[in-house]
């Protein structure tokens, strides 16, 4: 046996490393993900991402500025930001209206405080094939903290996972580690939305709950992270099996993550 090990020293070393990695993964499945070395790696990667994104954007903007007048571009950017804010307010107002209709007999109209948010640019997307994250160019120096909600005017994007002074990592809804308390806008049924990499699944939905394809899921506000009433996902498939007490509900996020350029970080 010692002779065999000595003969295939390198092979056994590689095998040992693979076993070690597998063990590392299983430990995290049981005890939660390690955040070992996360901030230094994000800091270094973020530094270069800023350079790369900055360079790519600069080259693109030179082309733009030749085609369009500089003032028009600036005006356009300002208006786009304003439209985004107004769309967000509109989305929240629509939800408020629905709620008010339901509660009109009580005459207690609720007023939402205007959402306080920071606009951030997406500078990196999905580095690993096993997760769904983005990197944004705002961090703790802009008032961003861990677990703040990240949204767009269309709906929820995810939540802040790691914060550095000048950038943050955002866990998208579709990441397998992401969970979010939601309810069906139509009938107020509640559920827990989990990321499944390409889409999301609503967990622990009773066999008898009324779920239909096309139903819009909105945040319930119960998780203390996301403000209530923001659009999250649309149900695309509902499967019921006689043998199971639960139904399988698959949902597609309303936000198209592939096209994300700017996001709003909702400050609590």
């Amino acid at each position: 046996m010692p002779g065999l090990i000595a003969k295939h020293k390198k092979g056994f070393f590689i095998l040992f490393l693979f076993i070690l990695l597998f063990w590392l993964v299983t430990v995290q499945v049981k005890n939660g993900r390690f955040s070992f070395m996360e901030k230094p790696v994000l800091a270094v990667a973020g530094f270069f991402e800023r350079i790369v994104t900055g360079t790519v954007n600069s080259v693109a903007s030179i082309g733009n500025r030749y085609v369009f007048l500089m003032r028009t571009v600036r005006e356009n950017e300002r208006l786009k930001e304003e439209v985004d804010r107004l769309r967000l307010e509109n989305a929240v107002m629509n939800e408020l209206l629905t709620e008010n209709e339901r509660l009109r007999d009580t005459l207690n109209f609720r007023r939402l405080n205007p959402l306080s948010s920071v606009v951030a640019q997406v500078i990196g997307k999905e580095m690993s094939p096993t997760s769904s994250t983005i990197t944004i160019n705002k961090g703790s120096s802009n008032g961003i903290e861990k677990d703040m909600a990240v949204i767009t005017p269309s709906g929820v994007v995810g939540r802040v996972q790691t914060v550095l002074p000048a950038l943050s990592k955002v866990l998208l809804l579709t990441d397998p580690g992401s969970t979010l308390a939601v309810r069906v806008q139509r009938n107020r049924e509640e559920g827990l939305l989990e990321g499944k990499l390409v889409n999301c699944a609503l967990k622990y939905v009773s066999y008898y709950a009324d779920m239909q394809q096309g139903d819009l899921l909105v945040t319930s506000g119960l998780d203390g992270i996301y403000p209530k009433g923001l659009p999250v996902a649309t149900i695309v498939r509902v499967t019921k099996r006689e043998a199971s007490a639960f139904q399988t509900v698959v949902a597609e996020p309303v936000v198209r993550f592939a096209r994300l350029e700017e996001v709003l970080v909702y400050k609590k």
Partner: protein
Amino acid sequence: MKFGFYVIFFLLIIPFQASLLNPLSIAGIKPDLALTLLYFIGLLTGPLEAALVGMSMGLLLDIGSASLIGLTGFTRGLVGLSASLLGRKVLDITSPSNGIFLAVFSLAEGICITLFLQLFYGDLPIFSLVVGRFLPQALYTGLLCVVLLRFIAGKNVLSALKRPAMQEEL
């Protein structure tokens, strides 16, 4: 020189993968530059070095993203090792057939990841993941590999780098 190359490689691989390839994204799918470079490293070096580079790269990607630390390290280690073993058989490293091999490796890694995640989290949309995400990415990555090989084939870059480490290990 080799140490310096790896330092630069590991420093730049995450930002390049996360930022530079975004303009090439089609419907959210972009080629895996990190895997492509790992494949080349695998072809040019011995199994131990390729596996270590793959594991280190995977660990970096895991730490830099939100995945379970070690999962991509495991799969990338396998890819590096396999590419290195394949490298012993490949006569012409600049052949476009490497694009096919890389696409197969990429798809195999995707399936491996899907099975792992299914094992750990359960209830994954396996068909959608493989057909909707990993297969297109594998084809796109294979295409990137062919384009890169076409680009560098005439410049003798690969043969200049070729295989002191591999001979040492063999």
